[in-house]
């Protein structure tokens, strides 16, 4: 029995659940936070989404069937929570989702939670011009160095389609940065 299976059993056992869950939060909080932050951009929003993600994980762990890795399952929850959050905000602001994505990075230069230089700011703006799925693939591959097999498990997309998606994403990003760099 692997360590992960034992850990999942502890998470699904009423007597050990709380203690195991604390361990899970400690292990994954930073990775999930950065994944969420790259989608929602603002720290406060990322904090809200991260907490909601862990609450969903805590409530749903009993139904986790181990058809994928625990890590992929949590990433998927975090991704869905982040996208739902963004869509909700766009609806509240009565703007199109692609416009809202670009709004997120428009104030980054004055955000004290962002310390990037001009080219790094351009990179973030470029990513936000991509369709949502390409943004996810780009972030997971470029920043998180996830393997295509892992991204495939998280997003439920074939590896071939992911490779093509990533290729289009990097090309568009490069083009944006080149065209907008002074």
């Amino acid at each position: 029995m692997t360590d992960e299976i034992i850990f999942i059993e502890q998470l699904q056992n009423v007597r050990t659940k709380e203690q195991a869950f604390r361990k899970l939060v400690t292990i994954y909080k930073e990775r999930l936070y950065w994944h969420i932050r790259k989608i929602v951009i603002s720290h406060d929003d990322a904090d809200d989404v991260l907490q909601n993600t862990f609450i969903k994980i805590f409530r749903g762990i009993d139904k986790f069937k181990q058809e994928s890795q625990l890590f992929s399952w949590m990433y998927r929850i975090a991704t869905n929570e982040s996208i739902s959050f963004i869509n909700k905000r766009a609806r509240e602001n009565k703007v199109d989702i692609s416009d809202y994505h670009q709004q997120l990075t428009s104030d980054l230069s004055s955000d004290n939670m962002f310390s990037g230089n001009e080219i790094e700011l351009l990179l973030q703006k470029a990513i936000k011009t991509l369709p949502t799925k390409q943004q996810l693939v780009f972030n997971m591959k470029y920043f998180d160095n996830l393997k295509y097999t892992q991204i495939s498990e998280i997003l439920g997309t074939s590896e071939g389609a992911l490779k093509a998606s990533y290729f289009h994403a990097v090309r568009k990003v490069e083009e944006f940065v080149k065209n907008n760099a002074q």
């Binding site: 990179l123 920043f143 290729f167 990097v170």
Partner: protein, 181 residues
């Protein structure tokens, strides 16, 4: 020497030609170009993520999370409307049955009177109550339910036609038994 090399090559060819030892993922070669060019472009982009978090954010995260009111609710068992309706069917059916039985047997509009009690019910009650063995009870029973006025009123209300009708309802055997007694 050359002959040996040739033999070795043939031997190796036989192994590799007829036995495919390695495989590649499906459609791997279709996506090689994408992967290669992605890598080339990646190298030209800034690789660092430059977002910051407040001091001690991750150190205090567990405390923040576990004090979240939503987390404090923990597992709220959500019962779907469908399953709730399905689960309620036996209870609702039992309640309907009880209501039906109650309405039919316990809340009749007709007032129970002496006239509505059949002779069989009276006999049964008489036996069950052991009134045969207790003459005092019997006397009380008669005193309570057959007052003098009731008997007189009943007597005056009976006419000859009623008696004739009553006699016609009795079968002959019963009539003979009553005459003999």
């Amino acid at each position: 020497m050359n002959r040996d090399t040739k033999n070795n090559e043939d031997y190796l060819n036989n192994i590799s030609k007829y036995k495919k030892q390695f495989s590649v993922p499906e459609n791997y070669f279709n996506s090689v170009e994408d992967s290669v060019f992605s890598k080339v472009i990646e190298k030209q982009l800034p690789g660092e993520l430059t977002y910051n978090v407040p001091d001690d954010y991750f150190e205090n995260f567990e405390d923040t999370l576990f004090s979240n009111s939503e987390f404090a609710k923990k597992e709220v068992k959500v019962i779907s409307l469908k399953s709730r309706v399905i689960n309620s069917i036996p209870t609702a059916a039992a309640a309907c049955m009880l209501l039906f039985v109650g309405l039919n047997y316990f809340s009749t509009n007709e007032k129970t009177s002496f006239e509505t009690i059949t002779s069989e019910e009276l006999e049964l009650w008489f036996h069950d109550s052991n009134l045969e063995d207790n003459s005092r009870d019997l006397l009380e029973f008669v005193d309570a339910d057959f007052t003098k006025n009731t008997i007189i009123e009943d007597d005056t209300s009976i006419n000859d036609d009623d008696i004739l009708k009553y006699l016609n309802t009795l079968n002959n055997n019963t009539l003979l038994t009553e005459i003999e007694s």
